[in-house]
């Protein structure tokens, strides 16, 4: 039972949570974005492509701007721009959301790979470490507050992490307590009712999709800047799709999105964790774990997964 004793050390758990934060944050941003547009009735399958656009532009911004914040801004910009395609084609013209989503994913994968490889294939530049911002007092807690294995300590994360977590709380408040949130939910539940109330469904959904793009771009940029410290073609490796699953499992509740993202983040960072615990598993087995976890979760919670009735249906005024 040596393995078991190593599993239960505090080192293991602090690095589990810290690793989960690093790997789970891109998922969290993207899934928060997806839950906004799902609530408004737009299924965005193109997250993977948008994330890659955000990651590449975020990398460019941080590399040439010399500052992580330029990178995040560039990522947000790229994500928003690529979601404009979705706004025009799916929300305004009412075209098939799944086909357009697949197209965005393919084009995003292709274009980022081509651009990166034509410009950086020989140098493959890396970005510097992102400085953490320690939380006063908490960072002085004996074991939890220390840096382990070169990872940033738990209470000294990059500033974006705190902002992201704060944003999740804000989003809960927006969904529950504000007119904007009510409109968003109505656009997904019963767009006719929203229209009858005198609010434009198209405008509501457009803003929702744009903010999805912005958050997805930010998620991609975070992955490139703080997660891997550089860009590679196909960097996201299916995380866009995982974000869709998280949004569906969380049923549009932002705090549940945070919890699920951390869970999957821990699963994603499991390979390093298991090395700490002294367990050697082949990388394939470790890769399978998060996806297997999702399939299991879907099997167990399948009855409880909830999607808005008007999801993926374009709203055409007067159409039946």
């Amino acid at each position: 039972m040596i393995v078991a004793s190593q599993l239960w050390t505090q080192i293991f758990w602090t690095s589990a949570i810290a690793g989960g934060l690093v790997a789970g944050l891109p998922l969290m941003f993207t899934a928060l974005g997806e839950s906004i547009s799902e609530r408004a009735g737009v299924l965005n399958i193109g997250l993977e492509g948008m994330m890659l656009m955000g990651a590449y532009c975020g990398f460019l911004g941080a590399y040439y701007g010399g500052n992580q914040w330029y990178g995040y801004l560039a990522g947000i910009g790229a994500g928003t721009l690529s979601s404009v395609v979705m706004v025009v084609l799916c929300v305004w013209l009412g075209l098939d959301q799944i086909v357009v989503g697949i197209a965005i994913t393919l084009a995003g994968e292709g274009i980022t790979s081509v651009l990166y490889q034509t410009r950086f294939s020989s140098s493959e530049p890396r970005l510097g470490d992102v400085p953490g911002t320690p939380i006063p007092l908490l960072d002085r807690i004996p074991v939890l507050g220390k840096a382990i294995n070169g990872q940033s300590p738990l209470f000294s994360q990059p500033l974006v992490v705190y902002l992201g977590l704060a944003f999740a709380f804000t989003l809960t408040w927006i969904f529950r307590r504000t007119n904007v949130g009510l409109n968003l939910r109505a656009a997904g539940e019963k767009p006719e009712a929203l229209d009858a109330a005198g609010v434009s469904v198209l405008a509501t959904r457009s803003y929702a999709v744009l903010s999805t793009g912005a958050l997805t771009g930010l998620g991609g940029a975070y992955l490139a800047i703080a997660g891997t410290g550089g860009f590679q073609p196909f960097l996201t490796q299916g995380q866009g799709y995982m974000a869709i699953v998280i949004a569906m499992l969380a049923r549009g509740r932002p705090l549940a999105v945070v919890a699920f993202s951390l869970m999957f983040g821990i699963a994603l960072s499991l390979s390093t964790l298991l090395q700490i615990a002294g367990i050697n598993l082949s990388p394939e087995v470790v890769n399978i774990l998060p996806f297997a976890a999702i399939i299991l979760a879907l099997m167990v919670f399948a009855r409880r997964a909830y999607l808005p009735p008007a999801l993926a249906l374009p709203y055409l005024r007067g159409a039946r």
Partner: protein
């Protein structure tokens, strides 16, 4: 036919149509050209602009696609590539007709490919060759079908979104294939993570007079069968009723869960066949990390063919040329072959737009939806 306009002016109710009717055939042809070929052309033009922006000459790029994909004997290479493409296209056509999204084709394909290349080297030596091929094709199909069971049962029983489950199963399938190749199927004579190689004379025989293997014939056969199933059988009709309106289908007494599971399995079966045709016809072995992701790029052409199994053939032929020649063109232009993904994505986008324009024109409706006009008017008033 043309005399409908002669009564003009006699009676207000019999006023002639403004636009003279084109012959049905001409209209049909124009429709096909507009809806199918224009998106491809637009995507090629947009891709050309992109190439120019990257500092490559688009004309040389498209020129090398021609030399690498058609001229001299290159069309045979394109035809060899066409076999798995067609089988995947047939599988996707079938399932998309039911309005179900099987996006797990990559996992189904690779898992089937891993099992085929794992068992083939032994099997072709142990049993008569025709039997080995039959067994391998069936095995590959069965593996593909089995990999759809979790998504299809979840969808049939709980209505779980199949896009998510098929994608997750796809990721799992790719890794399981990799584990199989490194583990039980690993060729001990090499340190590389790959399976034993099937001897050249034990591969699928080629069609006499060409280098093209008979997998292409299997693919054409599958396309015909799918077309027959969809258009000539009651099963195909039920499938399409389910796709068009599941509630109506349930009202008719169609057993939806069973239909979902069977059509999903059929789709996976065809994707599995594609893997067998590709491994036994072309490669002869599989290495970890090899994931051609054929399905990703086939999807647009399935849509361009309006989910018609026969119409898919010319599109897949076009794409086979594009991808065979594209490899050479990308290499010569010093670009990654992922550039083709951009082209395919553009084709999809232009297709949806052209489709929309065509539909509005047919209905005689405005190109700007009412709600959009409303939204802009609203904004201008408040601003």
């Amino acid at each position: 036919m043309t005399s409908t306009g002669t009564t003009a002016g006699e009676h207000p109710l019999s006023a002639p149509r403004r636009r003279p009717r084109r012959s049905l055939r001409g209209e049909w042809l124009l429709d096909v050209v507009m809806r199918s070929i224009v998106p491809v052309l637009l995507a090629l033009v947009a891709g050309g602009v992109l190439l120019a922006a990257l500092g490559r000459n688009p004309f040389t790029f498209y020129g090398s696609i021609w030399t690498g994909g058609i001229s001299a004997g290159a069309w045979q290479d394109s035809a060899i590539r066409m076999a798995p493409f067609l089988l995947i296209a047939a599988g996707l056509t079938l399932i998309f007709r039911a309005n179900i999204w099987n996006l797990g084709y990559n996992g189904q394909f690779l898992l089937a490919a891993a099992l085929v290349s794992g068992y083939a080297p032994k099997l072709v030596n142990d049993v008569p060759l025709w039997l080995a091929f039959a067994v391998l094709f069936l095995l590959a199909g069965a593996v593909g079908a089995v990999w759809t069971v979790v998504p299809s049962v979840l969808k049939a029983k709980y209505g779980t979104n199949e896009i998510i489950t098929t994608l997750m199963m796809s990721f799992i399938g790719i890794d399981v294939a990799s584990i199989l190749i490194k583990g039980p199927f690993h060729d001990p004579s090499t340190p590389l993570p790959q399976t034993a190689v099937v001897p050249l004379d034990k591969m699928l025989p080629s069609i006499p007079g060409t280098r093209i293997h008979i997998g292409l014939l299997v693919a054409f056969g599958a396309v015909l069968v799918v077309h027959w199933l969809l258009t000539r059988t009651s099963w195909g009709l039920r499938l399409q009723v389910m796709g068009a309106n599941p509630r109506a289908a349930r009202h008719f007494g169609i057993d939806l869960p069973r239909l979902i599971i069977v059509s999903f399995a059929a789709s996976g079966f065809l994707v599995g066949l594609a893997a067998c045709a590709d491994i036994m016809g072309l490669w002869g072995y599989i290495r970890t990390g090899w994931n051609p992701a054929y399905g990703d790029t086939i999807i647009p052409f399935v849509f361009l063919a309006r989910l018609n199994a026969l119409a898919v053939v010319p599109f897949v032929a076009f794409f086979s040329v594009l991808s065979t020649g594209g490899d050479l063109a990308a290499q010569q232009a010093n670009l990654p072959t992922d550039f083709l993904l951009v082209l395919v994505g553009l084709i999809l986008l232009f297709m949806t737009v052209i489709e929309y324009l065509g539909r509005q024109r047919e209905l005689g409706a405005s190109y700007v939806p009412a709600g959009l006009r409303e939204a802009f008017r609203l904004r201008r008033r408040t601003a």
